[in-house]
Amino acid sequence: MAVVATTTVSEPRIVADAGVRRRRFVDGLATVILWGLGASVILMLAAFVIYLFYLGASAISWQFLTGSPEETTAGGGIGPEIYNSFYILILTLIFTVPIALAAGVYLQEYAKPGMFRTIVQFSAESLATVPSIVMGLFGLLVFVYYFHWGFSALGGAVTLTLLNLPALMRVTQEALSSVPDSLREASMGLGATRWQTIYRTVIPSAIGRMTTGIVLIAGRIFGETAALIFTAGLSVSANHPYELNPMRSAETLAIHLWYTHSESIVPDVDRIGNGSALVLLVMVLIFNVSARVAGRALTKRFTGRSS
């Protein structure tokens, strides 16, 4: 005999009243909008890249990339400017990297919390906010007026060193702080001194991240302008466009773009501007990709971990 359930159990149902429905709608709408804003950043970058290629592609030629700039006539190239950009970049890195690494290692690994460390940290933060143009005027005062170097690649590079030191210090500190303490303890436990620990254990573990940071900052140095106008000058070397001497004026590519647009009287300003802007953009992209590739490769090489 079958037992027939006679009682009907009412299912528990959440009644979506108007308020809940509205909240869900608002939530969905907000999600869509936030997705849209996030996507718009990517689309914006894509639009910039496509537009710069569209403008600049026709200006690029072997003659443009290697030729010398013209003062008054059309057809000038940007060869010496590209050379100067790399020249100043390398000179700047030679100064910046050792100082920033040392200062970063000191702050992260040695300095005990206290007066000195606070002052160094605060100085680095202050240095980081000094506007590029103000740093340029400081370079003008010190290197051009006081040391009588005139406009020089060296003065420009030292100015850029001061400008980028804080960022590179922060990169170093962050890379070091990502190394687990167990590595330090193991090394010290085996009888290594603190410096041996840092040199043989901590730095190799952090080298991948550090390299990524350094290359990204190198990309920024490559495109720097305001700090260089009054220190490295607005002209390429008078003797020889590809001079090795650091005491000559050295107009970089980024400055050339600005100078051509705002001061120069050549008739093909647009062509030079479009071409230079595209070259600068491509360099930024190359720096960004190589920062990642190099960082990953070094991390793997030194720690065996993938990133």
């Binding site: 909240r23 608002v26 939530d27 907000a30 999600t31 936030l34 804003l37 996030g38 950043v41 990517i42 914006m44 970058l45 910039f48 537009y51 710069l52 403008l55 100082i99 920033a100 690494l101 040392a102 200062a103 290692v105 000191y106 702050l107 040695y110 300095a111 160094v120 933060e125 202050s126 240095l127 906010t129 000094v130 506007p131 590029s132 143009i133 103000v134 005027l137 010190v142 001061l162 001194t193 410096w195 041996q196 840092i198 040199y199 990204l216 990309g219 920024r220 495109g223 720097e224 305001a226 009054f230 980024a254 400055i255 773009l257 705002s262 501007g273 802007a277 600068l280 930024v284 960004n288």
Partner: protein
Amino acid sequence: MIAVQAKRSHTIERIAVWVLRAAATFVIVAIAALLIYLCFEGSKTFTVDHLPIWQFLFTSDFDPTANKGGAAIFIVGTIVVTLFALCIGGPFGIAVGAFLSEIAPPRMAGILKPAIEVLVGIPSVVYGWLGLRLLVPFLREHTSSASGFGLAAAGIVLSIMILPTVISLSEDAFRSLPGALREGSMALGSTRWQTIVRVLLPSASSGLSVALILGMARAIGETLAVQMVLGNATQFANGLFAPTAALTTEIVIDMPGATQGSFLEHELFSMALFLLLMAMALILLVRFVLRKRV
């Protein structure tokens, strides 16, 4: 043998500490030298040329050949352009920061974050050039502006330039909040949007203020991109689309023609000093905001 080796590593240790500390000291020396030099050079307008400070700050009569050094136009220009950029870039940046921290799946973040890094890397002049080729013609066609150059053009270019700073700092601010806040809010029946707006936004307010302040610091000092699209007219902007001038643009335009020791040179250094003090004030503000949180 072991003793000799131990002694050697001890010596190396001491040299290493000494070298590292010297590098750290270099940072202090650098900022101190910069401050001293600029204060010295920047105060000459007031000590050598005897221009009263209030005239520098509050009058707009700028004629260096007649020793008239009212910098109000440039100071106002800098402040207005910066605020303009902050009004657009600030909310936009915070929203994208919230998106990255709360909503974006790893794959989306994996595209968005490198894109932001590329935006950081694009040089100032390239932004200026883009503004010149894209934005200025657009504003000329579609607004009341006759030339397209002016406050709006500079503000929009700057708002894009401060975006990466604001986005990554506000993402950090959201990420640093404990998960319990989100869980608590969700458990009480809030939707994700309600959680973001009513719980996370107020809790992250100090971190978000820092993001905005550092975005401002970046905008204040920006030079060439602004100079290329601002119009550089020595006048107060009488509308959103009117050309005006800022501290940085005035320095970069007039400095090449300023002879050493002239009134104009002193005046420009005073402007640079003022710019530096504004940036420093913002850094102190950041310290203050962060200290209050603890």
